[in-house]
């Protein structure tokens, strides 16, 4: 594979992410990693459900009383939108339109940062209510589940930013196309996990 080979929209393959053996390996490997991540989150969800509302006797916090849907709903919408914008970015990647791809990735990153900011605000709010990490088994399970997702968001954002800066000058090639593709795939995965968190933690929490 020649990193210096220049492509045009015409010579650019339909599936640049799997056009080389390295790309193919990354593609399969990353899907497998996502399988492992799925089991990871499944373990966290199972633990959360087992420990939901469990705490020292007389604990005042319950999921029904603590969580408020409006903010979380806004966060959900923002993250879902960012998933859509990353799809646009990949659309332009496949069309070998580097500038448009960068622009859409930029929007994705901004939305992701907003999400992260709101999550930090939310956590901060709970801590001030007295619902800290060490407060109860419930709080530990909540923060570790949602916090692990937050850490994934942070990692995804760093990944996007690093890719955008590193490749800003040299455009798309066979070497970095799979990387962009996988970062976007990772971003979708994070989004799907959030949909589950929204449902299992917040919706089911508020409803009871």
């Amino acid at each position: 594979m020649d990193i210096n080979k220049r492509y045009t929209a015409q010579s650019w393959p339909d599936h640049p992410e799997t056009a080389t053996l390295e790309g193919k390996n990354k593609f399969v490997g990353f899907w497998l990693l996502l399988a492992a991540e799925t089991v990871t989150f499944a373990s966290l969800f199972a633990t959360y459900l087992a420990l939901k509302d469990k705490g020292p006797s007389g604990m005042e916090f319950t999921a029904a009383g603590l969580f408020e849907l409006p903010l979380v709903f806004a966060m959900t919408m923002i993250l879902l939108t960012s998933s859509l914008t990353s799809v646009y970015a990949m659309y332009h990647m496949k069309n070998h339109n580097f500038k448009a791809m960068q622009a859409w990735l930029g929007i994705t990153v901004l939305l992701g940062l907003t999400f992260l900011g709101l999550e930090i605000y939310e956590f901060n709010h709970y801590v001030h209510l007295g619902f800290g990490f060490t407060h109860s088994a419930f709080s530990s399970a909540f923060y570790v589940l949602v916090g692990t997702h937050g850490a994934h968001v942070l990692f995804g954002l760093s990944w996007f930013i690093a890719l955008m800066i590193r490749n800003s000058k040299r455009g798309l090639n066979m070497y970095n196309a799979p990387k962009f593709y996988l970062a976007a795939l990772y971003w979708h995965f994070i989004d799907v996990v959030w949909v589950f968190i929204f449902t299992v933690v917040y919706l089911m929490g508020v409803i009871g």
Binding site: L33, V39, T40, L51, H135, S136, S140, A141, V144
Partner: protein, 629 residues
């Protein structure tokens, strides 16, 4: 590149191994470190048997004894058996499918160094205030009550080495999915490759729950969370579930590759195609699949209720069916063959009755009400040693003899090998057979001493004598390795004469690019097919001789793993008031890791090419350059 075969100094060799991304060298690293930890774990086993030699012995104190049993189990499973199997997977699997390396050579190296630093970290606990002492299962309530930092060493060390194993698992899966030589369909893959494939899939899905459990443990102990703190609403049974959701598949992660090694041996040394290859493959897949549905049979006495116990009892019994299929297919493989009793074959033959004995006691324990008696007694100790030693360790010893020439280009002495075999085999049965009865006589496991009035004295003494036999066997093996290395008699491509699969078609040890030309696979046991058809060239090739693209070596995996090692110390001392520097250490360690990750992503690493001319030149010299520059 053209000065390939020069004599190198020690420093250069060391640097070569620290930076290597060659699967064959990484295999050697796994073999050496796994072997080292195997000796450490064996030493711990000897201490255990000395302590239990007689009633009321005071050779070890109660606390120290618990540390030793914990480290014995943890070391043997995570730091000896797994890496030794990974050594053979690394060394052989890419050769068997006709690949030039694994899919991610860089990650392969990272996987090894993470395992290595995790193992070292765990064992440093001996010198830094005491080893973990809650058993290798580390049940949560005892683990949280344990004083000192032992359990923290356990949780952090296993987290790090677990990441390494997970990386290795993904790597092997992708390699097998994407990098098989032309013609190597799934149903033409050698059985060792198949078992590597299934074991890797199990690693992929089983290690995350363990990592999550370990994270909870670390958070509870070091950052005051409450996952397992009962007064704060926590629940210790969650740990047991997470541990065994990992722990049961782990048993198959260990035994399946051993099955693979034995399958290769039966075919080679019976000079016969594996009987029922298709059945063996599907039995392997089924065992892997069922492996995830039976974890609660380790928890029959926890009080999950009769429905759960009955369901898991039945699910567990079903596993006996595919395992039985395997045993009978192996028997029918040697049936009608021409058996050569090489050391590897003798291990394989000895494996059958040993493993069947371990298997049937497994079925007995699947009977939940009977397990109420057998659980946590010496019966279970006997059972899992029959499976692990009689299955996995015999497999490793057999694999060592079988693949030594392929990995190092020399043959281990068959004579000394037989000596090792007899000592080890007799010692093994002497040690563990009798423990079934100790369990039935009411002796619980993990007891550091016992009173004389319980009828256990004689059997414990016999068991301890057996352990001594095993130790002698292993010492003879070490002598064998040293003598073989010193004599250094080189062997050719197919030293056993009856090799059937691709790894025997190339030089021993293979050149660093494995195959100058990718072979064309025309069926199961492809090399055997070529041999039988009298192909003088060895193989038919799928491509003309041409330039080969190879990955660059890199020190980054080593540095990245070292960063985790440093960070682990920071986390370990995080809550100690007397060690305010801990946070700084944690940050520095993570900084090293993420920094090197960043370097890796920002710096292009495009590898290099071996030209056709260099390949021809190398072929003239025997075609086994190790690529060391």
């Amino acid at each position: 590149m053209s000065s390939l075969a020069q004599k190198k100094g020690f420093g250069a060799v060391l640097w070569d191994y620290l930076t290597t991304v060659d699967h064959k060298k990484i295999a050697i690293l796994y073999l050496i470190s796994g072997g080292f930890f195997f000796l450490v774990g064996g030493l711990e086993a000897m201490l255990i048997r000395i302590q239990l030699m007689k009633a009321g012995n005071d050779f070890l104190s109660a606390g120290l004894y618990n540390e030793i049993i914990t480290m014995h189990g943890t070391t043997m499973i995570f730091l000896a058996a797994m890496p030794l199997l990974l050594a053979f997977m690394n060394a052989i699997m890419p050769l068997q499918i006709g690949a030039r390396d694994v899919a991610f050579p860089f990650l392969n190296s990272l996987g090894f160094w993470l395992f290595f630093f995790g193992g070292i970290f765990l064992n440093l606990s001996w010198f830094m205030g005491g080893a973990p002492d809650a058993g290798w299962t580390n049940y949560a309530s005892l683990a949280l009550a344990s004083e000192g930092h032992g359990i923290d060493f356990y949780a952090l060390g296993l987290t790090i080495s677990g990441f390494g194993t997970l990386i290795a698992g993904i790597n092997f899966l992708v390699t097998i999915i994407n990098m098989r030589a032309p013609g190597m369909t799934y149903m033409r893959m050698p059985l060792f490759t198949w078992t590597t494939f299934v074991a890797s899939a199990l690693i992929l899905l089983a290690f995350p729950p363990l990592t999550i459990g370990l994270f909870f443990m670390i958070f509870d102990r070091l950052f005051d969370s409450n996952f397992f703190v009962v007064e704060m609403g926590g629940n210790t049974i969650i740990w047991e579930h997470l541990f065994w959701i990992f722990g049961h598949p782990e048993v198959y992660i260990l035994i399946l590759p051993a099955f693979g090694i034995f399958s290769e041996i039966f075919a080679i040394f019976s000079r016969k195609r594996l009987f029922g290859y298709t059945a063996l493959v599907f039995a392997t897949i089924l065992i892997g699949f069922y492996g995830f549905m039976v974890w609660a049979h380790h928890m029959f006495t926890v009080g999950l209720g009769p429905t759960a116990n009955a369901v898991f009892a039945l699910a567990t019994m079903i596993i006996a069916v595919p395992t039985g299929i395997k045993i009978f297919n192996w028997l029918l493989t040697i049936w009608g063959g021409s058996i050569q009793f090489s050391v590897a074959m003798v291990y394989a033959i000895a494996f059958i009755p040993s493993f069947v004995a371990g298997g049937v006691t497994g079925v007995m324990q699947a009977i939940a009400p009977l397990d109420y008696q057998l659980h946590d007694s010496y019966f279970i100790v006997a059972h899992f040693h029959y499976v692990i030693v009689g299955g996995v360790v015999l497999g490793l010893l057999a694999g060592t003899h079988l693949y030594w020439p392929k990995m190092f280009g020399t043959m281990l002495s068959e004579k000394l090998g037989m000596v090792t075999f007899w000592f080890f085999f007799i010692g093994f049965h002497l040690t563990f057979f009798i423990q079934h009865f100790l369990g039935l006589f009411g002796m619980p496991r993990r007891v550091y001493t016992f009173n004389a009035d319980q009828g256990w004295d004689l059997y414990n003494l016999i068991s301890s004598v057996g352990a001594l036999f095993m130790a002698i066997g292993i010492i003879v093996l070490l002598v064998n390795v040293v003598l073989t290395t010193v004599k250094n008699v080189r062997v050719g491509n197919d030293p056993w004469g009856d090799g059937r699969t691709l790894e025997w078609a190339i030089p021993s040890p293979p050149p660093f690019y494995n195959f100058a030309q990718t072979p064309l696979v025309r069926g199961l046991d492809t090399y055997w097919i070529e041999k039988m058809e009298g192909n003088k060239e060895g193989m038919i090739y799928a491509e003309p001789l041409g330039d080969i693209h190879m990955p660059n070596g890199s020190i980054i995996p080593f540095v990245m793993s070292f960063g985790m090692f440093v960070a682990a110390f920071g986390a370990l001392y995080f809550m100690d008031d007397t060690k305010p520097w801990a946070l700084a250490v944690l940050v520095i360690g993570l900084g090293i890791t993420f920094g090197s990750m960043l370097v890796r992503s920002l710096k292009d690493d495009l590898g290099f090419y071996i030209t056709k001319e260099e390949l021809i030149e190398d072929a003239k010299r025997g075609g086994n350059t190790d690529g060391h520059k």
